[in-house]
Symmetry: C5
Amino acid sequence: MLIRCVVYEGGRKVADIPKEEIHLHLGQPGRFVWVALRDPTPEELEEMRVQFDLHELAVEDARHGNQRPKVEEYGDCIFAVMHTVELEDKELVVGEVDVFVGPDYVLFTRQRTKLGFSGVRDRCEREPQLMKAGPGYVLYALMDTIVDRYFPVIDQLEEDLEEIEDRIFQGAPARKNVEDLYALKRKLVVLRHAVGPLHEAAGKLYGGRVPEVVIGTQDYFRDIYDHLFRINQSIDSLREMLTTAISVNLSLISVHENETLKRLASYGALVAIPTMIAGVYGMNFDVMPELRWAYGYPATLAVMAIADGYLLYRFKKGGWI
Amino acid sequence: MLIRCVVYEGGRKVADIPKEEIHLHLGQPGRFVWVALRDPTPEELEEMRVQFDLHELAVEDARHGNQRPKVEEYGDCIFAVMHTVELEDKELVVGEVDVFVGPDYVLFTRQRTKLGFSGVRDRCEREPQLMKAGPGYVLYALMDTIVDRYFPVIDQLEEDLEEIEDRIFQGAPARKNVEDLYALKRKLVVLRHAVGPLHEAAGKLYGGRVPEVVIGTQDYFRDIYDHLFRINQSIDSLREMLTTAISVNLSLISVHENETLKRLASYGALVAIPTMIAGVYGMNFDVMPELRWAYGYPATLAVMAIADGYLLYRFKKGGWI
Amino acid sequence: MLIRCVVYEGGRKVADIPKEEIHLHLGQPGRFVWVALRDPTPEELEEMRVQFDLHELAVEDARHGNQRPKVEEYGDCIFAVMHTVELEDKELVVGEVDVFVGPDYVLFTRQRTKLGFSGVRDRCEREPQLMKAGPGYVLYALMDTIVDRYFPVIDQLEEDLEEIEDRIFQGAPARKNVEDLYALKRKLVVLRHAVGPLHEAAGKLYGGRVPEVVIGTQDYFRDIYDHLFRINQSIDSLREMLTTAISVNLSLISVHENETLKRLASYGALVAIPTMIAGVYGMNFDVMPELRWAYGYPATLAVMAIADGYLLYRFKKGGWI
Amino acid sequence: MLIRCVVYEGGRKVADIPKEEIHLHLGQPGRFVWVALRDPTPEELEEMRVQFDLHELAVEDARHGNQRPKVEEYGDCIFAVMHTVELEDKELVVGEVDVFVGPDYVLFTRQRTKLGFSGVRDRCEREPQLMKAGPGYVLYALMDTIVDRYFPVIDQLEEDLEEIEDRIFQGAPARKNVEDLYALKRKLVVLRHAVGPLHEAAGKLYGGRVPEVVIGTQDYFRDIYDHLFRINQSIDSLREMLTTAISVNLSLISVHENETLKRLASYGALVAIPTMIAGVYGMNFDVMPELRWAYGYPATLAVMAIADGYLLYRFKKGGWI
Amino acid sequence: MLIRCVVYEGGRKVADIPKEEIHLHLGQPGRFVWVALRDPTPEELEEMRVQFDLHELAVEDARHGNQRPKVEEYGDCIFAVMHTVELEDKELVVGEVDVFVGPDYVLFTRQRTKLGFSGVRDRCEREPQLMKAGPGYVLYALMDTIVDRYFPVIDQLEEDLEEIEDRIFQGAPARKNVEDLYALKRKLVVLRHAVGPLHEAAGKLYGGRVPEVVIGTQDYFRDIYDHLFRINQSIDSLREMLTTAISVNLSLISVHENETLKRLASYGALVAIPTMIAGVYGMNFDVMPELRWAYGYPATLAVMAIADGYLLYRFKKGGWI
């Protein structure tokens, strides 16, 4: 579905145009067309391919979706694939943004994303002095927005980990901790696969030989590269802490088992000792003087209580109970 | 066994020819021969070696089979080895495809593969405008087909993992989970060894210096490279999740052991307490007033029941039972 | 907040100046201005941007803080971000230092750091022969100070590990050890993220092409690079030992569990044997000669005691108790 | 000990010669001398050093043995060290082969190897058209033979792993499995240290700049490189599966422990319940009506049997027994 | 402390000289001075700095000690830092050797080393034909000696591991094994930090561009590089086996726990069965015919014995006891 189709000149908006008129505005210095599509149909993509003379393979990639994040050059056109990662009820939803950037056009399509990108257009239109740099700047603005949206996701995952850590060390039920650690790991893998290849791809847009469309905006792309580096670093930390947390959790499960065993043994002893004593005085020997004593019974009960009391004291002191 | 042997010119099929006539069609601009063999005998390979003047070492590799996936140049001939991976009753079967590509021929052989490649030929013949690019395009079409067939395998392995995960967290018997995780690991290693080296080899067919036969089709090979990158990434994710799943499973086994221990201890206590009380009233002291009471016996039974009831309540509350 | 703003010429201090006069001292050979800010406000940064004609993106990074350690070139200006790591009650506090270095100025800002850097200025002023090398030498002096402050942190973490190791092998409560190991791991990750990227960035300041401002001070930066290398190596060792310590700790927990189990079994046996014997003589058979013997009871008690004594001896010898 | 010393010309054998005459045949185009030594004494090596004018350091390496596999150039001489790995009673025995290859000689020495290399000479003499390529081809033939002998070793290790896997999953005694996994790991490390460096070294003999003696035989060395790559890959797979097998084995040990615990608890319950009931009717209360019933005793026994029968049914159903 | 200070010319010793005269012998072709210091004081180093005109930073590194192993160039001077690793009561002691090598001097200092290096000088003086190569050869001789001294350390660690392995598989107390494995790991980390960076640094002294002083002795440094490679490989093997040993040990602890559990259960059963039977005949039913039988008691004892005998047989057969 077409969202908007606008012509810019010298960084300023000229007019909204119907998509059929796009070709009228191409090839004029300082002027470019910015088209935005949402969940584009194959027909729409085909139409755009013709209008902008895009490469067949790039369009096919956009049609199939499900590409890995990348930045590719086809002649003087840059084809960029980026993944959006959005939080929905603490679950990660991955969407895809494909951008074709040529000397006089930007074609933007998004699929399976909840949040829109109209804010990017507003921001660009408010800064004509930057927008003057052309389609390369628009690519930067879009990429910057997508990358900025990774930060709250990372923050959420870090919070998740902290919460699980707290629960681990406070002795919450281990089974739930294990499940949550695993779920977090899964999210991390998803996020890493959105960020990692994009980080690598962003490296192609500054330093050394860069595609012509982004020549004037290299420093901006270095900035994006830097942000992705930082996100990657956070992901690495999370991974490492997660691995450690899983093994630490296993250790604590064993520690807990040990404690259970000890407590169990302690309570067992508190019952076994009186049972043994009772067993002794349940024997049927003819000659067992204690049985005849007037206070034999209470004395025996007392012995039992004292024995148990002593054990209890020892167990408490030793931290077994 | 020879499957087919066809001459193409300008991207269009000219004629099926007997293999003895191959040399008549070589060396003519715009014309090339495409031969397909299945489980070739040493004699057939030798015949082809002579017809196409192939390098001895490459033919020997094809004869032995069991090569690692690779793309090698011998003069102006490309020798490509690829592994097919097919699902058969959830087991992975690895086959091998060897392709010799020269300026005027494509020699294709397949071994131990269930699925054929006649669809590739049909597809190529339907697109003469692409086929015009020559043997390099045929190599692309074959490689693309092989790579595309990896995707359902990856999907199957991902489903397998999800199924095991579900079972792990629902507390299915741990022994079976462990076995399945191990079997999955094994499959993953098999798949990785088919995909990894091919990914690396595909990198030689685009960007920088490439063999002459593929010069006009570089963008296509970049596309294949990308697909392989994505498959590799999926394999990496699977590996990582699998490793995590194994350690998580171990954690859960320990958790389960802990729970077993607690339940065991609880039931033990429910039996031990009455046994102890009974032991006490089984003692033979002359003076044990309770024994003389008319309701001593039912009162004792009641005490036992109450003690057990209390314990049961505590155990249930503490989640031990 | 402005800390100081001083003009140097030929390595010697000329005068403290108000920040409004900075531009009067720029562009004069052999002369440079060194400004230090603490927790700078956006307004202050903006003012500096104008005075020194800094790049917008670099200033924005400084404004936001929270950048990864890096060394970037903007034209003839170096923008360096470094993290300070300070110990506060055994916790690590990460601060940030941003330095802009141009041919005739050094702009230094620090955020969230406890310790100041006035000592660096004093040291530089005492060595005019080195200071003569210009702003590049000031950058070295600042970086050197920050890097030197990592050493006590590393030392502290190494001491922490040693302390935990001691406790692990002396059988201290495993739960605490696990918690401490995890906390140490967390600190290590924090430190690594300060040191790692800086190490990499420092590599850009010596050997091969270096930014013009540091050309005369390359050997100094190699020295810093070396120190960072050593710190990195210590961090790697710590990581490796920590991972080993965690798994070793888990082993010891299992060993301890084993011992608990054995001790438990031993004590259980000491109670079960007399109970069984007592049970036998509690049977009500008419004909049980032992029951009639005058010394049957003490003899039985003696048998019990001997049996237990023998078991106790065996258990002690076998190391079970 | 000298094995043989033969002169070749144009790929064909000219004559066996005594080693004292070697220098008479050097320096003649198309002619080269091939000497084979076994467990050479320092004196023999010294003699060869003089005859062929070898570099002191290379000869010293050959004298000491125990070098890592490598390919080094000393002037126009290649010095290659390779490790043979032979199976002896399922144990790995590592031998060493040192080869000096110059423009007009091949000096081959072997130490601690069981199998000889006379087959290589036979094969070379049967193919004079290849042998014509000179000493480089002989180096290839020797290397190829050594590398081919790694394959059965790899196969053996793979069989070993499969056998252990089977035993693991069929519940064989864990202790033996652990020992065998460890032994397999040890072998793997040995094999890897023979193959890994050789793989790397072989890469120097094809592509880019190669030593002059092997210029005409590059494709052959690429073939060897490929074989080593494949062996390396197999070793990597084995390593990975082995690591997984060890952790899977640990999981199964825990699973088994869990099962033991449950079975133990079940049998314990089957004994504890009757004991408790018997305890109750062993109490000495005056008023216990059941004790007076004529069928009280068999009824109680029946209750015990029924209780145990029910438990047994429950345990079997729950998979505890 | 100054050890010796000698002038060499053309590879032969000219004279011992007092250190004050050093400058008289510098700058003469074919002549160089070799100074050896032990635990040098800052004053001595300062004096040397002046005599040889060394770079301030290098001298400062030597003064502080505690540098990582490295090879640095300062103009035409090489500054090399190496770590000695010595065994003292099975503990590793790390010392440091710093060497300054210029076109006409070698300044050698050692700190915290037990073994001296006078043997190196003796060896060099015995081989004037090699020594003629100048200070570069002396550097080689020193480095070679240090590297050779790593071998016995590696051997010791390998022996340690083997000894621990034996104990692990022979069932020695697990706690001691764990401690020893950890201690070995620690030593390994120490050794790796001495060897790893030196290996890397040695790579700068042969092949490609090398410092001028070592130009004639490149092959020798390649030899050292090779030795370090081999040591590194041994360290890697040790690390890998150690990690495996730790996890294998954990498995065996669990196996042992399992066995303990089974034995415990077996003995428990042997006591519980007679106790249950005794409990039954301890019941007070009026009608219990067995109690009246003349041989009821011995028969019951026999039943107990038979039951236990049968269980014992079963347990032994099942390997539980």
